[in-house]
Symmetry: C2
Subunit: 324 residues, 2 copies
């Protein structure tokens, strides 16, 4: 077996780092010479990366050019925004450096988080948990007869991919109508997938609009005032993708006008939202602090995913979650 | 077709009553002569019931003896506590009066409500929705790495029946270990079912303890201090059955001691709980006001369920949700 120099700019609890050490026995682990968060990090590449065969974590994309021996990059997040630009893509393509990410570490947790939002809204938990109304009173009747089961409702998942697929599995018992939206349909998706030309029509039919769009120039403020105006009156909007995909004042307006019943957001811009932000003032806007991908044992899952891919890399097998 | 006199002490919106009228065309609908909620109602049977062939709603069990022509009772709730005593059972058995209830009207909604509780707890929504912690700070790390996906966890459903079965369907994609508890296993359940002798052991293993027990002399304060002490440290307790099945001070103690991580209750005793009740003071106790069975269109579903059973009754076919 070829001994690899693996540059790791990823930090976790001691027992997880021990799993990493054991799983990479026979190879050499190299940690950053400088603290990962140092502001100097952008000045020049970390010497550990320059000599590495493999990089695991969030290696500086500008330093990859100088890492002459680099043969594989495994990114420790699901987002690849930091790497997703033409120069970097051209560089790794030219040098045949496969790039994989950690999407599957987060996809189940993200899908579960969306469902927790959908059910909290369907059962009106924010209201129900604070009400003191007695059975049979008008406010109680209004609450009890307005909660929902999701059955038969329509959900549109924007940025249909691994998380969307997992969400479809979770939603299967609810017998909803689920539609995916992505730039290009691959044709093998589990649900009908629409592309740009049918978006306006589909937005106007969906009871649940689920934004899992990645962050890119194309998706910047994808949900603007014009798009929110297309939504079905009474729809619920969810965002567990990226905050930048939403024009937040337009969202606040859509919530204020009553067109949207509610918004459930795990991502915002900035994070956390300041206390005086219009979305904080909207009583029908619910925000969690970018935890959708989180779960007990997350860093261990992340390391195990890398180790699984390391075995694949060594055996020259296709990498999981390869993105470039 | 035999023309039936159908006594209806059930009130709903005008359009739902119209569905009832249309669906019973050819029969005679008889409404209570006295307001349903009158305190006089217990004094003597409503004349409408005395002459009826069928009763739909919540007919006074003490008046059934005098309703000489009664051939079928359809109860408009899932609970049959009011009717579930030996004298009444003996009476309807002796006179061959089938009794059906409205269980399936509520079962899906109840199961969805439980799942909304389970996911709100797994994703720590009550905390996450109010936190303002920035990404990377210690409280944020603590939150993000402690939320869960339910995968692989164990759930015990007490009072395993129609709601439990529906919940099992909803939980299937989560790949949990689900165990049912009921007085007597029928052997055809979708999950392993335990009875009394294995209860203590199973309570000590379950991460999620879901109380759907009906109200009866046998289940009164089923969850008392001794049973709460059996639970696995860190377990979560849910009740969407009946408030009387729980000794609430013992629950408050179990929450206060930290043995239970949280309790999610849709039923309490009394309802609503007074503001100075110990469970109101527990920060890890979450209460909704007996709405688990509620859903948009509930009264319409209820009437349609009765009408479906009416067709079965007329054709002499087995009734759905027959309970006696």
């Amino acid at each position: 077996m070829t001994k690899l120099r693996i540059f790791v700019d990823f930090i976790a609890e001691a027992e997880v780092m021990e799993i990493l050490r054991q799983g990479t026995a026979g190879h050499e682990l190299v940690f950053p010479k400088r603290p990962v968060a140092s502001i100097l990090a952008k000045a020049e590449p970390d010497p550990g990366l320059v000599d590495a065969d493999v990089a695991f974590g969030q290696p500086d994309p500008n330093a990859v050019e100088q890492a002459r021996g680099l043969k594989w990059i495994h990114i420790s997040t699901s987002s690849i925004t930091r790497y997703d630009h033409p120069e970097f893509r051209e560089l790794v393509a030219r040098r045949n450096i496969p790039v994989s990410n950690s999407a599957r570490v987060y996809q189940e947790s993200c899908a579960v988080h969306v469902l927790s939002f959908m059910l909290a809204q369907a059962r009106k938990l924010p209201l129900a948990l604070v009400t003191r109304s007695a059975s049979g009173t008008p406010p109680w009747n209004a609450l009890r007869t307005s909660v929902r089961t999701l059955r038969g409702e329509t959900a549109l998942i924007l940025g249909y991919g691994a998380i969307g697929k997992q969400l479809v599995e979770l939603l299967r018992p609810f017998e909803m109508k689920v539609i995916g939206f992505r730039r290009k349909s691959r044709g093998d998706e589990e649900v009908p997938v629409i592309t740009a030309e049918k978006l306006a029509h589909t937005l106007s039919m969906a009871d649940h609009v689920i934004d899992i769009l990645p962050d890119s120039a194309e998706t910047k403020h994808f949900f603007n005032a014009a798009r929110f105006k297309l939504l079905k009156p009474g729809a619920v909007f969810y965002n567990i993708g990226r905050g930048a995909t939403v024009e937040q004042q337009a969202l606040a307006d859509a919530l204020g006008s009553g067109r949207l019943t509610a918004a459930w957001l795990d991502v915002t811009e900035p994070e956390p939202l300041p206390d005086d932000h219009p979305l904080r003032a909207a009583p029908n806007c619910f925000v969690t602090p970018h935890i959708a991908g989180g779960h007990v044992g997350e860093s261990q899952t992340l390391v195990r995913h890398f180790l699984g891919n390391l075995q694949r890399f060594v055996r020259n097998e296709p990498l999981l979650d390869r993105v470039m």
